[in-house]
Symmetry: C2
């Protein structure tokens, strides 16, 4: 007879306590293979609990394979060979901890403000997606992503960016880099990629890694120089026209037309338009996407929800021109979609029910206010700085006058708890005429911005011998 100590004060239900006791006895071998368990009536009497409670415990043990049922005879302990038992832990290993030194004034421009994330809404949508009868959601879905989500994204892109496409042209993936991997398999011609200089280094790394020859194309006030692109012999142009990363240059309509004209000149040419944070414009009217103005199927439009919602969500999208969609469908549609269907379902509702629109408006107002606050704080520098790229996006560019030794400046900044990226780190080749710094503000509170800028001024003054206040 099993004598199981039952603690009625514990939160754990009694049947769970009985189940665990017997399970552990079986795992340890105290109840060996072939042992017959007492009948549920007898055990219930012995433990002074209801028979139902014991039946529940026995049912668990049976369903997990710890015991077998022999009809009209009872329950017998199974062979332990087959049971999973993950409780023996491996010795703890030391993970080489990454340098997670915290900088109080971290202006490096990644991440988003999560204080205003609609947690309640997201949790509610998660619960709804996970209803028990949604089991179809748990099976493998369509390679390019679920139709409902692609349809919702199509709608959003059309309204917000003037993108023109059918939902079948939209391919979903768990990140920009993955979509570039897919794209690299779609483009079979040995492509040379022309990239803005400076550029988004993640894209540069992917193209490099995949052995695409890369040509660095310089920019002027309007963005990538098209004549230089033409001379470079590149067949793909990778551009960020809404808000060039990292300079912040917005490509005006005239330059966009020239770029589209370049693409039309040869059949194998394409433009990759990376519209990474086009949602956040603070001044002037938004210029619609290049893709919307392209009548020749030359633009591959790419975007992500990383900036608009959160990097952790891992949903990015690519709109393929019909010629490339055809190649995708013929050669690559065997790939399973890399985005969890549950996440797709949540995001789909988030978009369709208007939550995304509200969230974007809130975030835009918030980022605009931080952008303006930062610029206001920088006024203490007077004529000693030049600010660029402040009309949109989650970072601005600052050029400091009178700085000779940038290495020393950056070291001193770090010592004072200030982290900023220099724009020279984004150059594929060569370097900027004048070094500038990227000040990202998405994750900082206004108090951090204010204190950070004061610190920055002190460091600057120290280096330049500046005594103005």
């Amino acid at each position: 007879m099993l004598t199981i100590g039952i603690d009625t004060k514990k939160k754990e239900p009694i049947y769970e306590q009985i189940y665990k006791y017997i399970r552990d006895e079986i795992k340890q071998g105290t109840l060996s293979c072939g042992t017959k368990l007492p009948s549920s009536r007898k055990l219930a009497e012995h433990l002074d609990v209801s028979r139902n409670t014991v039946d529940l415990a026995y049912g668990q043990l049976l369903s997990e394979g710890y015991v077998e049922s022999q009809p009209k005879k009872g329950y017998y302990v199974s062979a332990m060979d087959d049971i999973f038992d993950f409780e023996v832990e491996l010795p703890q290993e030391e993970e080489a901890l990454e340098d997670v030194s915290c900088y109080p004034y971290d202006f490096t421009s990644s991440g988003v403000d999560m204080a205003h994330f609609p947690y309640n809404t997201w949790r509610k949508l998660m619960r709804e997606a996970l209803m028990d009868d949604n089991s179809e959601l748990f099976q493998t879905g369509k390679s390019s992503g679920d139709y409902k989500l692609r349809e919702a994204i199509r709608n959003y892109l059309h309204q917000s960016r003037g993108v023109v496409c059918t939902s079948s042209q939209i391919i979903l993936g768990s990140g920009m880099e993955y979509l570039l991997l897919l794209l690299s398999q779609i483009l079979e011609f040995p492509y040379t990629v022309g990239m803005e200089n400076p550029t988004y280094m993640q894209a540069y790394r992917v193209f490099s890694q995949l052995h695409f020859p890369i040509k660095a194309i310089s920019m002027d006030d309007h963005g990538m120089k098209v004549e230089e692109l033409r001379r470079s012999g590149a067949q793909i142009a990778y551009v960020t026209p809404s808000h060039q990363y990292p300079t912040g240059i917005v490509m005006p309509i005239s330059r966009r037309s020239s770029l589209l004209a370049w693409a039309r000149e040869k059949e194998e040419r394409y433009i990759i338009e990376d519209d990474y944070d086009s949602e956040f414009r603070y001044q002037g009217k938004p210029i619609p996407s290049l893709q919307g103005n392209d009548k020749n199927g030359k633009v591959i439009y790419m975007g992500t929800f990383s900036k608009a919602i959160a990097p952790a969500i891992r949903v990015s999208y690519m709109v393929l021109p019909q010629t490339l969609l055809k190649v995708y469908n013929e050669k690559l549609s065997f790939y399973s979609c890399t985005v969890s269907r549950i996440d797709q379902a949540i995001l789909s509702e988030f978009l369709k029910k208007g939550h995304f629109e509200r969230h974007l408006n809130r975030m835009r107002a918030l980022y605009k206010s931080k952008n303006q606050f930062l610029i206001q704080q920088l006024k203490i520098f007077g004529k000693n700085i030049k600010i660029m790229g402040s009309s949109a996006g989650l970072h601005i560019l600052v050029e400091f006058q009178g700085l000779k030794d940038h290495r020393k400046f950056q070291d001193l900044l770090l010592k004072n708890g200030i982290k900023m990226q220099a724009i020279s780190n984004y150059y594929i080749e060569g370097k900027p005429e004048k070094e500038c710094y990227i000040l990202g503000f998405a994750r900082l509170k206004e108090s951090q911005i204010a204190e950070g800028i004061l610190q920055l001024k002190e460091v600057y003054d120290e280096l330049t011998g500046n005594r103005e206040k």
Copy 2:
């Protein structure tokens, strides 16, 4: 003065109703840019609601940028240029519907039984992962995946499959195909891949697509023939030794040793061990992984939670030998992890809290019972069938005696609502001596299995003129 119809019977809070009314008036242009809103005190009096309620509504409008606040003056309607408004829908387009014809007796072997999925537990873990102060979770994480999850997987793999590694050797990805894409970038040497014939076609498609030369290596009762592999000149062997896909052959220890010896012969050789459904073994002791027996860093171990939990989860893992891990860290660690950090957090707790162990045990008992039931039902065929690969996994192999025209058989099966894959579809080259059929049972209820087998027998009898019962 705004006259807003408030419906106290509606579920929607009053402040929401006020907010929406004003928002829509602004969107439509009825309240034009620069219009001053009534003070909250006056509007509250007019609508006969509390001032607090109006303040809440105004607060929403302000936070979303519909109105601006001028200190000591009031709220003024903003310019609509900047506001996102996604409510104009595009005309509905027709998505080319996929052939979703339902077969009542669908034995094609993909998917898992979701009726026993622990929805409550998963929902609870989702809620916990999404606590408001978990905002760090929403930023970009480590390229190979969060440490906690890799640690939990390391533990699980060691206990269940005898895998020996540190957690830094584990790379997470949103699917097997993605991990193969990464692996193809790690292996720079122009590798030829030796694959079992027949094989897992998804892997074949990825390798083909990436232009890896592929050699089909035939198998005997013990799996891949190592001498043939040696002669083929392949440098990578892709194997599924726990339960060969699709034949179900379990590679015995002797053959595993030969395979490991082959790999040791040359420095550039590696073995990819795809352990896709090793969790479900029904007879005999499980043989530990190849990786666990490899002392020379020759085995790349790959697995997934698709079969053990659900395909929708999209979490797979790869254990790299130290030599390849070094290459990954040097060249590929810039890639962001393709698995949502929220999903990583949920899965991490699911493993650590013992839920996965319980779920696996339950599923194993369930699948074992279905496996046995299926075999029992097939007894009506008597000597007319041969059953193979039934000791593990989520499908069995059946060879029907006396069938000449397999094309006709398959057509007749479809007409009768029975869907089954023929093994010849999994051959890279050549074809089987005798055609067999794969019967997957994961998603079928016992009643469907019983009816399906009866139907199958009728079709078989009709074709073979068989009158035995």
